[in-house]
């Protein structure tokens, strides 16, 4: 199945990769890129897209309520 030029592979690394599962949600980082962990909709403001006379942001609000429940 292999030819003389086929590169060999590190079996363990191929299966395992190099990651760690977080045991708790990552803590807030104290850096310049900190941002308030607020729902995306709150950062967007009004969309200007209206459906049945209501702004999309308003219509989507219940969805975000459901996500946060």
């Amino acid at each position: 199945m292999t030819g003389p030029d086929t590169p060999t592979v590190n079996v363990a690394a191929y299966w395992r990769g190099d990651f760690t599962l977080p045991t708790a949600p990552p803590p807030d980082r104290g850096g310049a890129d900190d941002e308030p962990d607020e729902p995306s909709l709150r950062r967007l403001g009004r969309s200007g897209i209206t459906v049945r006379g209501r702004d999309l942001a308003t219509l989507l609000a219940p969805a975000y309520d459901a996500f946060l429940d």
Binding site: G45, I49, R52, F67, L68
Partner: protein
């Protein structure tokens, strides 16, 4: 024992397969025999899919149910292969094969889970602590099941997705994919989420990328796909139990069903599909769906990234020099460049051109300190900016975007529409300076002398009745030089767009150009009244024929006035009976007042206290009287200043005919006009202007002078309205020492008194200047304010070098105060008692009686409460205390510090709390009852740079020995009648170490013993000598008549209180 492995397949499905340790030995044994089968071969010890379903069921019923729903499929993936067999994963408890492994494709039986089921499964098996679980298999018992790294990695991705949805960090999008239209939820990760995702992507087990033959992607791409699919699945799961997103229609029962057609229908269908399991948007016209995508993208693009390290900036560069795109190197007006730059948000001076960034080196290194990959930021931010300005779309395929070439139309589009939109989106926008000033075509007015034939001549003196000749010219404003005929013609030829005129770019407005041409053709030259000219010149929003007035230029005195230069004419000669020599700055003030009178314009003389506003005003009146001017000037002042004006007028301008409208016996409307006929100066108070308005309106006033004009700062008060209601034939003057330039509403009120209506309504004035000048310190608005108000305000500070050079180092002044009616009543009672008691007594007894009575009179002059010792409130019961408070307020406003001396410790104790309340500042008080240490402490506090600014001292305790050079104002509240004692006290401030000029004021009550003795001291030096040697004892030996003359109250002079009636 089983090891579970996972594969995330294109199309958003999870393939689950497993190695079975029990099958491994047999596979090894048979390995060689299978070597000749075609590749890819079936994995020899992979668990059959049906058996995998059983294993999952053995772990738990939830997994069992999911497995029962999952179809069985073969998946093919590259696995490390040794010889003819796939190498076992490290978690499989078997001996690893010997020899090097290479990747080869193997087919594995798998259970396939769609995104929704995958989300459930991955959530079920997520365990960050343990990778091993157990399964109860029918007939076998409990077996060990290991979650292989590929499965664990995907549980990590799912956990991030689950938390992302739970925090609402996702956005709905419209997606065109797989030949269909979809409503999907996309993750909108926080920076922490992005770090976590990046770590997962970097650590992705390569086996997850090994699907054959379609694999070979990156961990980042795989993570993006899996995360997006799992976020979408979790969002739909959350919405499954929520109310529909689509609101009920206004009519009909089809509550949450989308409309039939139209753009709204597309949006409705998309919204509806967001909560549906498959997310498919049915039957939306492609163009409407594309429009929805565009609008959604625009909405998201508008959301600024929070706290980015780098900011994309745009700089518009005008065409300069040869056009690089012109083969012959000719310059072109269409060779505009839009440069891209990156700026460090926390270090705005670190601004690097994209071109320099691409070249690497120092520029890149500097930015790399702020962000991992500045070039990536540039590309990402350009993409974000393209949502705001589609002209940037074309850069997407450029590998190293640095600039965008624009023609004139493009540059104008950028300036007009893109720049504000980009700035609003958080991008930096650097525009040419001319665009910020926005030169506009307008009209400039040029006024020349001599005037048009047949009109009055404009001489060296500005004349308010003059009519001046003018010429309009087209000009670029604000403040730009007029355009020549040729330039205007070129502008007209350009019609519209960006045009370069005199080397400056501007936006040509065809309507404005046409209006200017039409106006100039019809009304280029003419004449107009000086007053109208001034209104045009001073209104920054003035327009003519719809065009802004960009400037008014005049020569001669009018030009001087408009330029805000004082003294447009030499000071007039003072009449010979004027008993003061004006200092040079006072002469300039007189000339200015006279020029303003000549122009009929109101004047605000706002010199610092002590610079002689009174003497300048009196000089103006004296000059006019000598010239034969007619009509009285009405001087309105606070009650406490009536006596001062009387005395100053007597002293400096005895030739002025005066009349005081004051007191209970004042005249009514009929008599007043007669009484003031032939009078030059009528003195009254603010209170009486309001109360006796009818009588005052009956007189034709030459001018009205408002002294301490801050009294009219509230334009709405009845007092201020009454004052403004008085008509004048020449002009109005406001005198104030308060630095009104710092309080703009006050400034407007005072200027509006002086020149009603000239500066527009207070609200507009406030709107235009109050916030920009007071709050934002806008230099442009400040300059404009100065330009508009400058001609009407003359303010000299005593600290101005030219003024200070003309002042003596120590200025001594007498400040005249009036008694209140209460003071006068008490005063007369004391005098009557004295004169009665001195009859028939002699020697020591007489001396004691006289001295005691004189002391009482001095106390009455200070305040009734001092005589009565009744502890009553000070209130408004003393003209001297009122004047003291006014002087201190003025001194504080000018930043001065003041020593106030009194010979009465009791009076000092009464004054201190009163002054503190009135001034709103701490007032120090040093008297004989204090310990030495306490006195030193007070002196030290007063001398410290931020110490209290008013220091009350008893003459005995504080008059000698102390060093109080922090003060530059000294007030002697009551008279010791011994100049030497006052001098010593004054020298607390006026001594070595004093760096400023010192003003010394002696407060003297008009018409009282204080004034009599002050006159004696001033007139008779020899007597003064006697006083120095003998103190007040000389008074006690005066004969009765002389004593009566000395102490009697000349009531018509002395009392300044507005009595009812």
């Amino acid at each position: 024992m089983f090891v579970l492995h996972a594969l995330w397949q294109a199309g958003g499905r999870l393939a689950l397969w497993a190695e079975d340790a029990r099958a491994h030995p047999a596979a090894v044994a048979a390995g060689a025999a299978r070597g000749d089968r075609p590749s890819p071969r079936a994995h020899p010890y992979a668990c059959p899919a049906a058996e995998l379903a059983v294993v999952l069921g053995g772990i738990g019923p939830g997994l069992g149910w999911l497995a029962g729903q999952a179809p069985e499929r073969w998946a093919t993936l590259l696995l490390p292969t040794v010889g003819t067999l796939p190498a076992p994963s490290p978690d499989l408890p078997v001996d690893p094969p010997r020899g090097g492994a290479v990747l080869a494709p193997w087919r594995v039986p798998a259970l396939l889970f769609d995104a929704g089921a995958a989300a459930q499964l991955l959530g079920e098996v997520f365990d960050p602590h343990w990778a091993v679980t157990g399964a109860d298999l029918p007939g076998v018992g409990r077996v060990e099941v290991v979650h292989g790294p590929s499965l664990r990695w995907l549980t990590g991705v799912h956990d991030l997705a689950w938390r992302t949805v739970g925090r609402g960090r996702l956005r709905p999008v419209a997606v065109q994919a797989d030949g269909g239209q979809h409503a999907r939820w996309q993750p909108d990760l926080t920076p922490a989420g992005r770090h976590e995702a990046a770590a997962l992507a970097a650590g992705c087990p390569p086996v997850l990328l090994g699907e054959w033959p379609t694999g070979g992607g990156t961990g980042e791409a795989l993570l993006g796909e899996a995360l997006a699919a799992l976020v979408d699945a979790e969002a739909r799961a959350a919405l499954a139990a929520a109310p529909p997103l689509l609101p009920p229609a206004a009519s009909g029962p089809a509550a949450s069903a989308p409309a039939a057609s139209g753009p709204t229908a597309t949006a409705e269908r998309w919204l509806h599909a967001l909560a549906m399991p498959d997310g498919r948007v049915a039957d939306a016209p492609p163009e409407e769906f594309a429009e929805l995508r565009r609008r959604l993208a625009g909405w998201y693009a508008a959301a600024e990234p929070v706290a980015p390290a780098l900011r994309l900036c745009f700089r518009l560069v005008e065409p300069l020099g040869p056009d690089p795109d012109d083969p012959e190197g000719r310059p072109s007006d269409d060779a505009w460049q839009l440069e891209f730059l990156l700026q460090a948000v926390d270090e705005p001076s670190l601004l690097v051109r994209a071109a320099d960034l691409h070249e690497g080196g120092a520029a890149l290194a500097a930015l790399a300190r702020k962000a991992d990959d500045p070039a990536d930021v540039l590309v990402a931010e350009l993409a974000r900016a393209a949502h705001r300005w589609p002209a940037l779309d074309g850069l997407r395929h450029r590998s190293r975007p640095a600039t965008l070439r624009l023609d004139r139309a493009g540059a104008l589009d950028f300036l007009r529409t893109a720049a504000p939109a980009l700035a609003e989106g958080g991008f930096g926008v650097l525009l040419p300076a001319w665009w910020r000033r926005r030169p506009r075509l307008g009209l400039a007015l040029r006024v020349t002398t001599p005037p048009a034939p047949g009109t009055l001549a404009v001489t060296a003196q500005v004349d308010r009745d003059a009519v001046v000749a003018f010429r309009w010219q087209a000009a670029l404003g604000p403040g730009g030089a007029p355009l020549s005929e040729q330039e205007l013609a070129e502008l007209a030829a350009a019609k519209q767009g960006l045009v370069r005129v005199r080397g400056t770019w501007m936006e040509a407005d065809p309507a404005q150009i046409a209006a200017a041409l039409a106006f100039l053709a019809a009304r280029r030259d003419g004449v107009l009244a000086t007053a109208d000219l001034l209104r045009l010149a001073l209104d920054p929003e003035a327009t003519v024929a719809g065009l802004p007035v960009t400037g008014v230029h005049a020569d001669g005195p009018l030009g001087e006035l408009l330029a805000g230069r004082a003294a447009p004419a030499p000071a007039p000669a003072l009449p010979s009976d004027f008993r003061a020599t004006l200092r040079p700055y006072q002469e300039r003030g007189l000339a200015w007042l006279r020029a303003m009178a000549g122009l009929g314009l109101g004047a605000v003389l706002a010199d610092d206290m002590g610079l002689g506003k009174t003497v300048q005003t009196l000089a103006l009146l004296a000059v006019e009287q000598a010239e034969g001017a007619s009509g009285p000037t009405l001087l309105v002042c606070p009650m406490s200043l009536v006596g001062n004006w009387q005395r100053e007028a007597e002293r400096f301008a005895p030739g002025l005919r005066r009349y005081v409208h004051h007191g209970s016996g004042r005249l009514g409307a009929d008599q007043l006009a007669d009484a003031v006929r032939g009078v030059d100066l009528v003195i009254t108070t603010y209170g009486l202007v309001q109360r006796d308005l009818a009588a005052l309106l009956a007189v034709r006033w030459r001018r009205v002078v408002a002294d301490e004009a801050q009294h009219v700062k509230n334009a709405g008060t009845a007092q201020a309205r009454a004052l403004r209601a008085l008509p004048v034939t020449v002009h109005r003057i406001a005198l104030t020492g308060t630095p009104v330039e710092n309080r703009l509403s006050e400034l407007h009120a005072i200027l509006d008194f002086a020149n009603p209506g000239l500066l527009g309504p207070a609200e507009r004035f406030k709107e235009r200047y109050a916030i920009p000048v007071e709050l934002h310190r806008s230099p442009d608005r400040t300059a404009e304010l100065q330009r508009r108000t400058g001609p009407f305000v003359l303010r000299r500070l005593k600290s101005d070098p030219t003024t200070a050079a003309e002042l003596p180092a120590k200025q001594e002044m007498t400040v005249w105060c009036n008694l209140t009616a209460e003071q006068a009543g008490l005063y007369q009672a004391v005098v009557a008692d004295l004169l009665q008691r001195v009859e028939g007594i002699k020697g020591v007894e007489r001396r004691g009686t006289v001295l005691a009575a004189i002391g009482k009179l001095k106390q009455v002059c200070n305040h009734p409460a001092q005589l009565l010792h009744d502890g009553t409130a000070l209130g408004d019961r003393s003209g001297k205390v009122a004047r003291l408070a006014e002087l201190l307020e003025e001194a504080l406003a000018e930043g001065d510090r003041t020593l106030v001396f009194t010979q009465y410790a009791e009076f000092g104790a009464m004054l201190r709390p009163y002054l503190e309340r009135r001034l709103g500042e701490e007032v120090l008080y040093l008297h004989g009852g204090l310990s030495r240490a306490r006195r030193e402490e007070l002196v030290e506090r007063f001398q410290s740079p931020d110490g209290p600014r008013v220091f009350l001292l008893s003459l005995r305790a504080g008059g000698t020995g102390l060093n109080l050079t922090a003060a530059n104002q000294v007030i002697h509240l009551d008279r010791w009648w011994n100049p030497a004692v006052e001098e010593q006290a004054t020298d607390r401030a006026f001594r070595i170490g004093q760096r400023r000029d010192v003003q010394v004021r002696r407060l003297v009550c008009v018409g009282t013993v204080e004034e009599r003795i002050d006159e004696l001291l001033a007139a008779k030096r020899s007597l003064a000598e006697a006083v120095v040697t003998e103190g007040e004892r000389w008074l006690t030996d005066l004969p009765v008549e002389a004593l009566r003359e000395l102490v009697a109250l000349t009531r018509e002079d002395a009392v300044a209180e507005e009595e009812d009636g």
